[in-house]
């Protein structure tokens, strides 16, 4: 297979994934036991102390359906949705927070989520892999067992328990970090940047600790297996140094599954945001997604999930495309 065919095939698959993802995104909210228009009318009626007549409510229903693009049968709505999302990349207004635009809501929240989770995920990946590599390569030494123990200790702790423990330790017993941060507003200055970093450190440490353990264990297992490979033995017999064997022979070959895992975890950052944001009062897209899910806010759900699908699918595509560069066993032809 030539390079062009290889890339075209992967790209075609990517588009298919996006299409299926968007279709499921459209359908899923409609399976929720929530009708946003009914919910909205219910709230208004409740506020109105029951003074709205059935006729007034019928009129309101028509207006709301027009406003939110819920007119017509489901196929008509689907076509309109695809047109809006694919061609205009427009998710319309939020149902719950009309007239706020979904794109504005996401744009405000996304940098926070990405800034924290992206950094923490990469740091956890780098640290975990380095520790796991050393623990795996020197797996017969006592120190390696200690390193592995760190992974075994951290990996099974549920994220919530870990987060609350860290919070208790570093914000309450030793109040080094704030329990509930206040992020500055207004024009960005260096002191403000410093404050944001300081306020983000506690959730970042927790995220690193939570992701760190798995990376240690998986890299260690891969490194142990790779160390036993004949080409590593051959390299040892040739007299190469430990450092060379560990980095150039073991690490490179054990790296591939870890890169895949990293790419997928980067794509899943959107989903991981919620708990962090709740526990650490951290701003981001998690809260928006939760509000949207509980309020049947179709448009916001479309926006957030579409971005998530885009991120996961793109990460998969990038991995597919760079694999041949990383793994000498894979070639375009």
């Amino acid at each position: 297979m030539g390079v062009f065919a290889y890339v075209a095939k992967r790209f075609g698959l990517y588009l298919a994934v996006l299409f299926i993802g968007l279709t499921i995104t459209f359908l899923l909210p409609r399976f929720l036991p929530i009708n946003p228009v009914d919910g909205y009318i219910g709230q208004i009626q409740s506020r109105a102390n029951g003074t709205l007549t059935p006729e007034a409510i019928a009129e309101m229903r028509v207006n709301l359906e027009q406003l939110y693009g819920l007119e017509g049968d489901i196929f008509t709505q689907y076509l309109a949705y695809l047109k809006r999302v694919v061609i205009d990349f427009d998710f319309g207004p939020s149902f719950t927070y009309y007239p706020a635009e979904v794109s504005t809501m996401i744009t405000t929240a996304l940098p926070w989520t990405l800034g924290l989770l992206l950094t923490a995920t990469i740091i956890a990946w780098l640290l975990g892999n380095m520790v796991g590599l050393v623990a795996g390569y020197f797996h017969k030494k006592r120190a390696a067992s200690i390193l592995e123990f760190v992974g075994i200790l951290l990996y099974p702790i549920p994220y919530y328990i870990l987060a609350v423990s860290v919070l208790l330790l570093l914000a309450y017993i030793f109040p080094i970090f704030p329990l509930s941060p206040t992020f500055p507003v207004g024009e960005m200055t260096w002191p403000k940047v410093g404050m944001i970093i300081y306020n983000s450190l506690l959730p970042a440490i927790t995220l690193v600790l939570a992701g760190f353990g798995w990376n240690i264990l998986s890299m260690k297992a891969l490194a142990v297996a790779t160390t036993e490979e004949p080409y590593v033995t051959y390299a040892r017999l040739k007299g190469t140094s430990n450092w060379t064997r560990m980095t150039r022979y073991v690490f490179r070959n054990a790296l591939l599954p870890q890169v895949t895992a990293l790419a997928l975890s980067l794509g899943m950052i959107f989903n991981g945001a919620l708990l962090t944001e709740i526990i650490f009062s951290y701003p981001g897209i998690g809260l928006i997604m939760r509000t949207a899910a509980t309020g049947g806010d179709y448009n916001v759900l479309y926006g957030a999930i579409t971005l998530s699908i885009l991120a996961v699918a793109t990460a998969g595509l990038v991995i597919d495309l760079i694999y041949p560069l990383l793994d000498p066993r894979i070639r375009h032809k």
Binding site: I34, G42, A48, T51, P54, A56, T108, S180, P283, G295
Partner: protein
């Protein structure tokens, strides 16, 4: 040299100490802590903090209705009496039909940007409400209420309503937590033309004595600053607001909040579970609950918790079944296991507050005591409060923490239903429902009877715990309960489409704050009833009441003043009909668990100092703001 060194060291230390003594603690938002009142936001973080147009969905819980907006009339939540705020006095009624009214405004009131507030602002607001009624999300009440308006002069206007309106002051003013009629500044909105329907109104120009200083675009906090000209604001005549700054902030999950509260990071919480409050009190003596003795919490919310039953659905359409559910419920056990005994029971379908008690509960107490079911059984237990008090004492609760004398009834309620599973079984057997081999009651035809019981998920931990306790109590009595937790968003849907629902905990149609019961029970009307098998959304009457006697009373009462003795008597009759047939099982007043921290501010509203409802998310919070005092803590 040594002496010199000591002298220098002492001087430096002294300077440091004196600096510390005068050092001002600052808040995270750069205001002096001693001048800042900090409260936990009611709804956590807002997803739309920049939306501040009160005619649409907006970030309502950031202090707008408490500090920012101002109303024609406000409610004194200690007495249930409406009083003028922007209006110069009570509304003037112009015709016998109670459809035409004249309102005179207070002169000398100014918007936060220095422009004078006049009748033109009111007229513009009314015009906009009506003109864009189908596009603006929060104008329905007023748009449906008002028919026409006329400006008389800069400080006087007249309004005609669509229906006789004996409650004009509370519809156009405040009934409980805020007004539906938020007046907007004409000079800001009018130039926008049709764009008012999408206008965000960020950094809103307001009428209250506070103006927005800053807010977090991510929705965690909003800071209000006292206007220099607060005396000429919408409620500047109420007195001087004590805090220079009020910060609404979300301190996160309850675990984090409790820790931050112990560290004096804020002054007033919202709903916090009794366990967390106990833990915080144990670690910080400045943390206080509403009352120093049981049941500790404020019980004066306008609404009460109750079990709503789909009255149109078999077998719940039978009063015997509903009574069986009520009598099988061990309310003492439920209250102790879910609320540690910190609750106030109420048998009537509304809350038992200092305002509603003399109007409804006290007059109907003897009726409740004499109430008799068809088989001659008297279901009411007058001694419920005393028995609960004794049960708590026997469980080792410190005697000093328990009420005595009249306070027992005031604390735990005037009575509730007997816990009598045998009588419940008898009632069920009378309609052909018997216990099966599995120990659970069956339907009439002998098929399994599984009751679906809907309760909130995590979003309301207090009521969630009550729900599970109720299910447990019923299960013990032989009812096969399937408890279904629903998220906040699904809650409204379940309520609105309860044709699929059987039983749910709810409070929607019990909210009665004073003599005017219409706000909740107006929805008991034929027009709101759907066929039993309809799955269409209900838009009122979520209990599916079909009692014609109640419908007639509701219709007739619309022609009566809400403080008329007959109007009140009609309300009591509705309560009687609902109770006689057990059309809903009222449980308890909503226990509003609002601990305060007196490190920086004192004189919060408490049981023995009840000058206002203690809620920071009701507009009556303005009473708190003018009554609290700084402690001097820096």
């Amino acid at each position: 040299m040594v002496r010199l060194g000591r002298t220098l060291a002492a001087s430096v230390l002294g300077a440091l100490m004196s600096t510390t003594a005068f050092a001002q603690t600052m808040t995270d938002v750069g205001t002096p802590r001693s001048e800042t009142l900090i409260v936990q936001t009611f709804d956590g973080r807002a997803a739309n903090p920049s939306a501040q147009n009160p005619m649409n969905s907006y970030a309502i819980w950031r202090g707008f209705r408490e500090l920012g907006w101002s109303w024609l009339w406000e409610m004194d939540t200690a007495t249930g009496q409406s009083y003028p705020e922007l209006a110069a006095g009570p509304v003037e009624v112009l015709n016998d039909e109670q459809t035409k009214f004249r309102v005179t405004l207070r002169e000398g009131v100014y918007w936060s940007d220095g422009v004078e507030f006049t009748a033109d602002d009111v007229i513009y607001s009314l015009e906009t409400y009506l003109k864009y009624r189908s596009q603006l999300g929060r104008v329905a009440v007023v748009a449906n209420f008002v028919k026409s308006w006329t400006k008389v002069d800069d400080y006087t206007f007249e309004v005609e309503t669509n229906r006789p309106s004996y409650d004009f002051q509370t519809v156009m003013g405040v009934y409980t937590w805020g007004s539906q009629f938020v007046i907007v500044p004409k000079h800001i909105f009018e130039p926008l033309g049709d764009e008012v329907v999408t206008f965000q109104n960020t950094n809103a120009v307001t009428l209250g004595p506070y103006k927005i200083k800053e807010f977090d675009p991510n929705g965690s906090w909003q800071l209000w600053e006292l206007r220099e000209d607060w005396e000429r604001s919408g409620w500047g005549n109420l007195g001087e607001p004590k805090p220079k700054f009020v910060l609404y902030k979300d301190f996160g999950a309850e675990e984090t909040r409790a820790l931050a509260f112990v560290q004096n990071q804020y002054d007033v919480d919202t709903f916090m579970s009794p366990d967390s409050i106990d833990a915080a009190k144990a670690r910080n003596p400045n943390v206080e609950s509403f009352s120093p003795t049981f049941p500790y919490h404020d019980m004066n919310d306008a609404c009460s918790y109750g079990v709503y039953i789909n009255l149109q659905r078999e077998p719940y359409d039978k009063p015997e079944v509903r009574w069986a559910l009520a009598l099988a419920l061990n309310m003492q056990q439920v209250g102790i296991s879910s609320m540690s005994g910190q609750f106030k029971a109420g048998a009537l379908p509304l809350a038992d507050t200092p305002i509603t008690n003399p109007l409804y509960y006290a007059p109907l107490q003897s009726w409740l005591e004499e109430l008799t079911l068809e088989d001659g059984y008297k279901p009411y237990n007058t001694n419920f409060a005393t028995e609960l008090n004794d049960a708590l004492a026997s469980q080792g609760v410190d005697a000093t923490q328990l009420p005595t004398g009249d306070a027992i009834e005031q604390g735990f309620g005037m009575g509730w239903w007997k816990h009598d599973p045998a009588q419940a079984a008898k009632l069920l057997e009378s309609v052909g429902m018997t216990k099966g081999a599995d120990g659970f009651f069956t339907r009439e035809d002998g098929s399994p009877w599984v009751i679906e019981f809907v309760i909130p998920g995590d979003w309301n931990k207090v009521i969630q715990r009550i729900g599970f306790s109720i299910a447990d109590s019923w299960r013990q009595a032989g009812f096969n309960i399937n408890t279904r937790q629903v998220d906040n968003g699904e809650w409204t849907t379940v309520q609105n489409t309860n044709s699929r629902n059987e039983l749910m905990i709810n409070w929607a149609q019990s909210c009665t704050y004073n003599s005017n019961w219409q706000n909740s029970w107006r929805q008991f009307a034929e027009s709101y009833v759907l066929p039993p098998d309809s799955t269409d959304a209900l838009v009122g009457n979520f209990m599916r009441v079909t009692d014609q006697r109640i419908f007639d009373i509701v219709t007739d009462s619309a022609q009566l003043p809400t403080d008329d003795p007959q109007f009140l008597e009609n309300g009591r009759s509705i309560a009687k009909y609902l109770v006689e047939d057990m059309q809903m099982i009222n449980l308890m007043n909503i226990p509003t668990t609002i601990p305060t921290n007196k490190t920086y501010w004192t004189n919060f509203p408490k049981q023995d100092n009840f000058y206002a409802a203690p809620y920071t998310w009701w507009s009556s919070f303005k009473q708190t703001v003018v009554n609290i005092e700084p402690t001097g803590q820096q």
